[in-house]
C-alpha cells in the first residue's frame, strides 16, 4: 500500500513536470517613460484589427483585462466592447489611431475628449498578436465496428503565441513602453482506444504573464 502511494505521488510528480514543461513563456519589457496610476483613473485594453491576414482575438484582450483587474494592485479596466461602442466610430479597425502621436489629433475632437474623461482613461494598451500552430506530425486512425470502436495513433504539434502590448499615456500623448509575451508549447494527442489530449495552454500562459507584467508596468513598479 505504501509502495502504491509512493508510486502514485511519483507518477503525479512526473506528470505535472511533463505537463508544466510543455509550455515556456518569455516576457520582455521595454520602458520608454515613467508610469503610475491614480485610484480614479482607468486603463482600456484594445486589440489591433487593421491587418487583413490576422486579427487579435477579443477573448485574449478580455483575458488580459481580467488579469489586470484582479488580485493585488488591481487596476480599473474598461471593457473593450463598451469603450469601442461608446467611442464609435473613432476606434473601428480602419479608423483607430495607429501611433501615440495620432492621439493628439483625436483628442482635439471635443466629443472624444469628453468621453475619454468620462471613462477616466489614463492608459490605452494596444494588444497585437496571434497564436500559430506549426510542426503538425503523426496520425490517428479511428474505426467503428459492430463490437464497438476505438482510435489508435499519436499526433503532436507546436503552438506559439506571440503578443505585443503597447502602452500609450493619454496625459502625455506618448508611447511609454512595450511589453512582449511569447509562449511556446508542444501539444500531444496519444490515442489508445480513447484519444487523450495533452494541450499546451500557450495562449492562457501568455495572457497571464502579459497581464501581470502590464499591471506592474502601469503601477510604475
Amino acid at each position: 500500500m505504501i509502495l502504491f502511494l509512493k508510486n502514485k505521488a511519483a507518477i503525479s510528480y512526473v506528470l505535472t513536470c511533463f505537463l508544466a514543461s510543455c509550455t515556456s513563456t518569455t516576457v520582455d519589457e521595454f520602458r520608454q517613460g515613467e508610469t503610475g496610476i491614480e485610484s480614479d483613473e482607468s486603463v482600456v485594453i484594445l486589440g489591433r484589427r487593421q491587418a487583413s491576414d490576422f486579427e487579435t482575438k477579443s477573448d485574449f484582450v478580455e483575458c488580459v483585462g481580467k488579469g489586470m483587474s484582479q488580485g493585488e494592485n488591481a487596476i480599473s479596466v474598461v471593457p473593450e466592447r463598451e469603450f469601442v461602442d461608446a467611442m464609435f466610430p473613432w476606434f473601428e479597425p480602419r479608423t483607430a489611431p495607429l501611433r501615440a502621436t495620432d492621439l493628439e489629433q483625436l483628442l482635439a475632437e471635443d466629443v472624444v475628449a469628453q468621453k475619454m474623461n468620462e471613462f477616466g482613461i489614463r492608459y490605452m494598451v494596444w494588444v497585437e498578436g496571434f497564436t500559430e500552430t506549426t510542426g503538425r506530425t503523426g496520425s490517428i486512425s479511428c474505426t467503428v465496428g459492430p463490437g464497438g470502436g476505438g482510435c489508435f495513433g499519436f499526433g503532436t504539434w507546436e503552438d506559439d503565441a506571440n503578443f505585443d502590448a503597447r502602452v500609450w499615456d493619454v496625459n502625455s500623448l506618448r508611447n511609454v513602453g512595450t511589453i512582449n509575451a511569447d509562449a511556446t508549447g508542444q501539444s500531444y494527442l496519444p490515442a489508445l482506444v480513447v484519444p487523450i489530449p495533452l494541450i499546451a495552454r500557450v495562449e492562457t500562459n501568455a495572457c497571464n504573464r502579459l497581464a501581470a507584467q502590464l499591471k506592474d508596468f502601469v503601477n510604475g513598479e
Binding site: A86, F88, P89, T95, V111
Partner: protein
C-alpha cells in the same frame, strides 16, 4: 400477416413523409435576415437639415449566394439592417433628419438636401470556398446627395468590408451575419468621418 404489414406501412407513412420533407428542406435555399444593432456615432453634428429617402431597391435589398454547382444556396436580406444603420448614424451627423417617401413628399421642400443611398454591389466569401477560416462581406454603395428638386449635389462611392475573427465555430448563417454587421459598422465609420472630406460635399457646403 398481410393486415399486420399494412398496419406497419400505415405507421411508417408519416415518418417517411417527415423524413423526406426534412431532406428536401435541407436541400432548399436558406433565408438569412441580417440582425444586429449599431451604436450612435459620437461625432460633432453638421448644422444641416437633411431628408433621407430609402428607395424600394434598398428597402428590399437581398443577395443570393450560389453553390459551386450553380444551385441557389443562401438568400441574404440586408435592406432592413441598412435602414436601421442609417437611422442610427444620420441623426448623429446632422442637426435635423426626416425620412421621406419620395421627392414629391411635401417635407422635402423644407430641407437643405436629400440623402438617397444606393447599394451597388454585395459580395460574400465563405470559408468553404476561400479555404480561409473567416467569413467576409464587401458592400459597395453609391452615396447620393441631392437638392430638394432632385438635382445631384454630390455622388460618391463608399466600400465597406467586414470579416469574422479566425477560428470561430460559427454556423454559416451566424458567420455571414457577424461579417455583415462588421461591414455595416465599417460603412458607418467611414461615411460619418469622411462625409465633409468628399470634394463635391465640400464644394456644396461652401455654397451654403
Amino acid at each position: 400477416m398481410k393486415i399486420q404489414f399494412k398496419k406497419q406501412l400505415q405507421t411508417m407513412k408519416p415518418l417517411t413523409i417527415s423524413l423526406i420533407s426534412c431532406f428536401l428542406i435541407s436541400c432548399g435555399v436558406s433565408n438569412l435576415v441580417i440582425q444586429g444593432s449599431f451604436p450612435t456615432p459620437n461625432i460633432n453634428k453638421i448644422p444641416l437639415s437633411v431628408a433621407v429617402y430609402y428607395d424600394d431597391a434598398l428597402r428590399a435589398f437581398s443577395y443570393m449566394e450560389y453553390s459551386e454547382t450553380g444551385r441557389e444556396e443562401i438568400n441574404i436580406e440586408s435592406g432592413e439592417s441598412h435602414i436601421r444603420l442609417f437611422n442610427a448614424v444620420l441623426p448623429a451627423m446632422f442637426e435635423e433628419v426626416i425620412e421621406v417617401e419620395g421627392f414629391d413628399d411635401p417635407n422635402v421642400q423644407g430641407v437643405d438636401a436629400v440623402f438617397a443611398p444606393v447599394i451597388e454591389e454585395f459580395q460574400l466569401a465563405l470559408p468553404e470556398k476561400t479555404k480561409l477560416e473567416v467569413y467576409e462581406v464587401w458592400i459597395k454603395y453609391n452615396m447620393r446627395i441631392l437638392n430638394p428638386s432632385g438635382v445631384s449635389l454630390a455622388d460618391w462611392v463608399v466600400t465597406s468590408y467586414g470579416k469574422t475573427p479566425t477560428e470561430t465555430f460559427l454556423s454559416v448563417e451566424d458567420g455571414i451575419n457577424d461579417a455583415a454587421i462588421v461591414a455595416l459598422r465599417d460603412l458607418a465609420s467611414s461615411f460619418s468621418l469622411n462625409f465633409t472630406r468628399v470634394p463635391e460635399v465640400q464644394d456644396w457646403l461652401s455654397t451654403l
